[in-house]
Amino acid sequence: MRIGIPRGLLYYLYKPLWEKFFAELGLEVVVSKKTTKNTLKKGIEVTVDDICLPVKIYHGHVISLKDNVDVVFIPRLVSIKNKEFICPKLMGLPDVIRANIKDLPPIIEPTVDLTSSWLGFYRAVFEVGSYFTNKNTVILKAFYKATKNFKNYTQALEKGARPDEILEGCCNLLSNKAKFKILLLGHPYNLYDPFINLNMIKKIENYGARVITPENFTETIFKTHLSKLNKPLFWTLGNKLLAAAYQLKERRDIDGVILLVSFGCGPDSLIGELIERWIRKNTDIPFVLLTIDEHSGDAGLNTRIEAFMDMIERRKAT
């Protein structure tokens, strides 16, 4: 049986887990090809115009898969952490896809909801597993191997590798020799899909910089910095961004911060504001907020990145 995984949204965080799990269950895993203009075009055709870019692109990936696989995997990710959510749009994702795309193969749509209990995760695992086998031991074993694979991945991230490097299999940790360090903040699907961000990481690293992202920070960093919040924030991805920004007060090695947000992103319309105000008040690190949507032409964004990087280069030289 062929199972399709759309290369979009939280695929970039969970690839090592999902792929391994399905492979261990004996399925043939088909991941949609990298995002192209056509993926986006297909996605735009079927979605309402005010939904954010990453969700449109996700639609494009589902469309490219649907005729080549027996089932598609579209998880309903409600919450991956106690008392936190990801985004309302991901909570309704399978339903939105069903309403927008015709002639879909069956959808494997486990609900992952850890809002009240970590058991939610195991429930989801068995829900998915039992679709393909009725042997609980097989599911458990597959899950064990998948988590192990995933653990290796997160460990590599904490050591400084970036998801894009690991997923591409070209980790160059040696770039510690980099002239300066840029902290690139954003949601994984925006940071690690070079189509969405117009290959931004590459562009920045061409300046001889090392790009670090929220995925490089450990759970402890998040915990210490988020405890300062007046009121705990209920978005997991937002928390990562906030904590990554808050730790700048103690870190002297970051030369610039770029925050990348999707046009119309609900959570980031508030988080972006909080981060910007905080960085300006508490540090003197240069900061820029870049908004991307399907119209963000190469030219406009490129000029802004170049201007920002030139400025940092000059600053460093003095």
Partner: protein, 367 residues
Amino acid sequence: MRLSFPHMGNLYIPIKTFFESLGIEVVVPPLSNKETLELGVKHSPEFACLPLKVNIGNMIQALEKGANTIVMAGGGGPCRFGYYSEVQREILSDLGYDFEMIVLDPPKGNLLKLVKNIKRLIGDNSFKKIWFSARLAWKKAVLLEELDYADGMARVSKKLNKKKANNLFNYFEKEIDLTVSFDKLQCIENQMKECYHDLTPSFEPIKIGLVGEIYTVLDNFVNMDIKKKLEDWGVYVDKSISLTEWANTNLLLRLLNIHGEKNTEIAARPYLNHFVGGHGLQSVGNTVLYANKKFDGVLHVLPFTCMPEIIAKSILPAVSKKYNIPVLSLVMDEHAADIGLNTRLEAFVDLLCKRKEGMKDEILFRS
């Protein structure tokens, strides 16, 4: 303490009543107007949703009027509203205002904080007094809803012309606002019954169900008085959300933990199988219910970029097709203009009239 709070429809009347009868000085911000919106837009994050911007405008105007404490509702997500207070506090203190913000968060395992915050507000008033104030405020909220309904029927049935209806509505709204005793409220209710009698229209009006994000549904400044507009055209409008009902299910039932599955959720299930924050699920479910109740159409209102309602907006076309009921999604933002809105509403009502007369029109969904 000079207490204030942002507006949502005429909710200020019961809230003001509650705090004033506890002996707290209340500063009601000017009713939301163009200037409120301008202030809000100027000082809020560009891509924040409209309610946050109008709130900021209200708060600035309240602080300018001398308020020094702001009560704000909180929330546990996933909708943005739950984190408004934090962003608003930052914005206002960066603007140099000296004030305190008291956030009332639903008790998600942290009942103590809520109790503490409520305690700060009500001081050492006796329980009897608090109970009295709450009941008075509640009674007002109920009366205001009755007034809204009666006023609507008066317009739809054409028993009162627009000007008379406006006058009568304003008169009763003011009376309810100013009254401080139960007896007097009872008198007003009786008066209302006398004034708004015999409201059944002599014709079968077009019936529209109004669904969407709560603030947009309930605040007439933000929805550009859409309900009255339609009613003046003789269209019956049913609001799917009412404040008292919302308070009942969200505050009381949540506290008692008997929040069961509701009809709307069951109705929505084939199309949207999970809560998505705010009223997204209700928008889908209520559309199904309106179709079952043989309404002629459904109007879906949402602020620009509202996440739960964008989900609903994505799904409603499928519901519309399945149940053969026209749905119009209207996105509200600071640029929405009266003229554009009127044309779109007219076209929609036109479509509904034609369908009612038995003419076939294939276009079901518009946005």
